[in-house]
Amino acid sequence: MSASSRSSAFEAFFRALSMGREGVIKEIEASGLRGMGGAGFPAGRKWRTVAEAPSEVRYAVMNADEGEPGTFKDKYLMENHPGRVVEGLMIAAYAVNAERAYIYIRHEYARAYRALAKARDRAMAAADGRVCDIEIFRSAGGYICGEESALLESLAGERAEPLVRPPFPAVSGLYGKPTLVNNVETLVNTPDIIMNGADWYKDNVKKLFSVSGDVRKPGVFARPPGATLRELVYEDAGGMKNGHAFRFAIVGGYSGKVLTAGEMDEPLEFGEFGNGAVIVLDESRNALETAQNVAEFFAGESCGKCAPCRGGTSSMPLLLAEIKAGRKTGGARALIRRLSNAMRDTSLCGLGQTAPNVVEELIDKYPHDFMDSGKRRPRSI
């Protein structure tokens, strides 16, 4: 991300006003901008759905509830480019003709909150009534609040639990009104698209990757889609630390996937890199203990609303503990399979549907770590 002085003048917002709502939506559609929170849904299509939904009242919401373990790119953007983040939301709110816009930010992000609050005040002064109010909502909630229907429930002051979809928020969202929900990184791209045009953006698509774990220089790095894990680890993050060899990486956070050393050169595309989190683990790390950490995370973060997720996420750590104890590992592994399939097929929202991903992939790719204790390689996390 290049720092830009013009973002403080909100020039892109004024350009957007001069283009008209339809002009802005057409430009975003033509740019091919996709959701950067993980799903990769075309942003322009979402904007049009909200803008054309038959309703007097619409809302625009920026999802700043970054909570996927290993992800810190939105925090980076909000702390370092708060003006541009707010400007992105202003453009979206204008395009869909929102009555009110919200920034939904997790409570832990105090520094980002302060930066955004200042930028919001500057933006409101600069816009001088030509954009709706932007309210910053500090969430007391957990991981589930990043799921957009749970986020909107929470914003309305209800229990932070997801709803059955459809209807999607673009049709029926906050207070039952059409609501645009976009990730921070999605919106931060819109000022550049407005200033430089859709064609420029198509040649300059960048995704932010949050790289952490056993690397020398963890950080946030911008790469075009198609980047490889090898580039991220060895060129951007300075390679492996402590002289250890790479063993595997968890890509896309705890709900993402596992990449082995043999998969380091495969190009990462939308749908594969998720939200861009990359947690790197070296040869001293144990796949079973990694799986336990991931399973315990979901057990703690499941909201408990639906049975497959509530029961599945709470059983998974127990089954992994049995494997860890070295008893009945074959039976426990078979149960994990059945449980994972049930969770994927029948959970209400993305949390339960994706919770088993990393555990299953670790078992598939590092079966030796999940064998009876005598057959394991000695490694510890």
Partner: protein, 141 residues
């Protein structure tokens, strides 16, 4: 405009939490009366927000337990804090001044291991550094 009593509930809960570090049960009852909501609704909403479940203490320590932080001495840091403050099994110090919880990702994976104390970030922790931070807070107040 839709009725906006519910968002006020979260705002009020946050105000109480800021004052007490958590939500005392007497305050829940008072809040229900004040907003003319059933107590079950106040309890129901509050209980789905982890932040409102924290014990009432002057200082809340939240240590990250997600992978990138816990890989580096996470266990040792946790032990050091527990021992330093004599944290009991339910996560509170003997004198009731401190609460301690291991939480999920704080977005500080690039500078881990990390913790928050009353919202303030402490990064690149070691057991020694964690102890030093606690000492400083104890002496400063």
């Amino acid at each position: 405009m839709p009725e906006r009593i519910q968002p006020r509930l979260l705002e009020e809960l946050e105000r109480i939490r800021e004052r007490h570090g958590g939500i005392p049960s007497s305050d829940r009852t008072n809040l229900a009366k004040k907003l003319k909501l059933p107590l079950t609704q106040v309890e129901g909403v509050a209980s789905s927000y982890p932040l409102f479940a924290e014990p009432c203490a002057k200082y809340n320590i939240r240590l990250c337990k997600s992978l990138s932080c816990s890989m580096e001495e996470g266990q040792a840091i946790s032990r050091a804090i527990r021992r330093e403050l004599k944290i009991s099994k339910d996560g509170e110090s003997l004198d009731g001044q401190w609460s301690f919880a291991k939480v999920n990702c704080l977005g500080l994976c690039g500078d881990g291991p990390a913790m928050l104390i009353n919202g303030r970030e402490y990064t690149s922790l070691t057991p020694e550094k964690a102890r030093a931070v606690i000492h400083k807070i104890k002496e400063g107040k």
